[in-house]
Symmetry: C2
Subunit: 416 residues, 2 copies
């Protein structure tokens, strides 16, 4: 009977931060660039710093509909004693006005039109009254700069607008359009090979015989890769056979920048992964075994210059360790050295989280609101139950120095 003792299996199990730091130090990613059309750039990672080629707006504009004026003509205007100016023309949309605002005159203007020479403010139409075709009365005082958008008020020429490594949002695309950058240098998506290991695993489209289970991890990990900016390359299910597995790993290293193997849940396929990695040379395995729940049997290696991840076979563990180790590594291939992302939500625990026995603990929670307060309800369940994640809205991290968490404690929740 070949049941080995997992206590002896991992002699050194660092906490996740220490494990990642050791691994990170030996991974030297290269960011490859490509250029995409602006309308294909949403969610892509910018590969260059972007500077403003011009100031924005490029010329002073009116922020309202009204009359371009010289404020000095109207410092004492009021409803009782309006300032009456000669109407000398109009500033048309989309053209530089030829008319000049001299003392005692005004020019009609619409929101967004260019301010004529001489004008330093705009009187809002609401506080004016036209008198015939050639005069306008203004019922409020006007100060210099009122209702004027100054040239350069949004951005100054040469200003750094967006940094390399930024994940492009809808408004960023608007900003790039504003400066005419209609083709955008972005990081090429790294290819991530995915292998599911284990004699008990059948592809998801196959009806499992008794004792077999469908491959949950290939689909989950592929989607996590896509969500993180990579391209998923599905290599399928590997049996717990050294030669076959090693051949698949060779293929993966040939075509991918990163390789993920999610071990079958058995010791057997973990052994196969480790043995295969050990044949590929230096530096090889950096970390094998992490003080985290779920995710203890995680293997972090570097093979032929490629990050090579052996994730646990249990789906919940595979997801948790993907977030801890694969995602930040993948982001470095996209030029992101310090992942930012959303801040976590603060919520109150509705029930206690039991101690994890010397490991950093990641617990699924369901979120809801009561009386304006955010509540987090732990979704407990064994780490091979994929629907414990599906039923959750986010997760909580319990530091190793805390022996569990109590009902009513405030926790930080990272939302899915």
């Amino acid at each position: 009977m070949a049941v080995s003792n997992p206590i002896a299996e991992f002699t050194d199990t660092p906490l996740p931060a220490e494990a990642y730091a050791r691994f990170r130090a030996v991974v030297q990613p290269r960011v490859h660039r490509e250029v995409v059309a602006l309308d294909a750039a949403l969610g892509r990672y910018l590969a260059v710093d972007v500077f403003a080629p011009v100031a924005l707006p490029e010329f002073s504009r009116s922020a309202v509909d009204g009359f371009a004026v010289r404020a000095s003509d109207l410092t004492r205007a009021s409803a009782q004693s309006p300032g009456v100016l000669a109407l000398v023309g109009e500033s048309s949309m989309g053209r530089a006005p030829s008319v000049v605002v001299k003392p005692g005159t005004a020019v009609g203007i619409h929101t967004g039109a260019m301010l004529p020479e001489g004008a330093d403010a705009v009187a809002m139409v609401e506080w004016t009254e036209q008198r015939g075709s050639d005069r306008v009365a203004i019922n409020r005082p006007v100060r210099s700069g009122d209702n004027k958008i100054a040239a350069g008020e949004d951005v100054r020429q040469g200003e750094l607008l967006l940094r390399a490594g930024r994940r492009l949002r809808p408004d960023d695309l608007g900003g790039l359009a504003a400066i005419g950058m209609v083709q955008v240098p972005v990081a090429r998506r790294p290819v991530v090979a995915i292998i599911s290991g284990g004699d008990e695993i059948v592809p998801a489209h196959v009806a499992p015989a008794l004792g077999q289970v469908r491959d949950v991890n290939s689909g989950t990990l592929g989607a996590l890769v896509e969500e993180s900016g990579g391209v998923a390359w599905q290599l399928g299910v590997a049996p717990d056979d050294f030669q076959t597995f090693r051949g698949m790993a060779e293929q993966a290293l040939e075509g991918a920048e990163l390789v993920i193997v999610s071990g079958g849940s058995s010791v057997g396929s973990r052994d196969v992964t480790r043995a295969a990695v050990d044949t590929f040379g230096q530096p090889g395995v950096i970390v094998h075994g992490v003080a985290v729940r779920p995710g203890k049997p995680t293997l972090l290696a570097v093979v032929r210059g490629h990050p090579f991840f052996g994730l646990p076979g249990n789906p919940v563990s595979a997801i948790a360790t993907f977030r801890l180790f694969v995602r930040p590594t993948l982001l470095r291939y996209l030029g992101v050295e310090e992942p930012s992302g959303c801040l976590p939500l603060t919520a109150r625990l509705t029930s206690a989280i039991p101690p994890s026995g010397g490991r950093e603990d990641y617990v699924q929670v369901r979120l809801f609101e009561r009386n304006g307060e955010a509540l987090a309800e732990p979704v407990l369940g064994k780490s091979n139950l994929i629907f414990t994640v599906v039923r959750a809205d986010g997760y909580v991290r319990v530091p190793v120095e805390r022996a569990g968490l109590a009902t009513g404690e405030l926790v930080r929740v990272w939302q899915y």
Copy 2:
């Protein structure tokens, strides 16, 4: 001079919730289905309720490496007085074991393998000691159910797993794989036509002459449409000319399910949009003018059964009103009647937000942390400055009944 008075322009300006409710009542979306492969389903909206065709797991499994036993043999086992059982075989991965666990016997088992008949628990290998090839000593008491994942522990047969309208996450794809649903019925992405209006607007790839500005909104709105699950159909820039604009609107209505026009910032192009909509018949304009800042001149119409949005030309206003009115409408075409999404973050304002004068106010904020507290710094700026959004991390809603917000108040921030 054709500067009309905007005070007279909108006689009825409901608050956003009331405006949306009036509009929603006359929009009758149809959800069209299509079927996609599981690995193309990330981020798509599920078009059917999904029920479990089988229980998961389908058979009882071991949660650990160890020995399948009958707990009643080991109720008093201890290190001093271990329970010694006859080792009668092994449960191989991926196969139904032929061996049966009779009283006084044990069967070797790996994590994930099927529990043999007769066994009701698994003794972890850490607390066992093999004695020769045919006996095993167990040093701890075992209770029925220990380290066993029962059939149906994750999901029961027939259980509702995922509801129609759910936006599919990576773990959902894993769940669908677990039940063998490798092709997924999802809502077809609705086509959303986008027109930018205004004589001052030039396409983003054109260098603007003095007085002209580049089209910021087409790119921004297209990305917001894609992010919200639709397909953006870019029709380009419309001049402030009734016939041309009406022709473009006709084309849009012919090919799209929803139409967005972002008006030039001038009254002129707003007038053209309104006049064109009025020629298309009933019900036509539902709301014109909303008590919101930014976004007052928003127009909500239904034309030939299609939602037709006239958004303000200022980019910041266009983004804010897209989120308020277009996004929830678009989501109804994807089967989502009650948008859920992430809960907002609670943060402390670092400076005051001035009163908005009787309108509901949406203010950009930058988020950061200090001493473990989330802080929100308002990014003030006129609503035509796209980079005020680019510089922000989220937004705050100020209800109309509040006259601004004070420094130090706790606010809820919706993160981008």
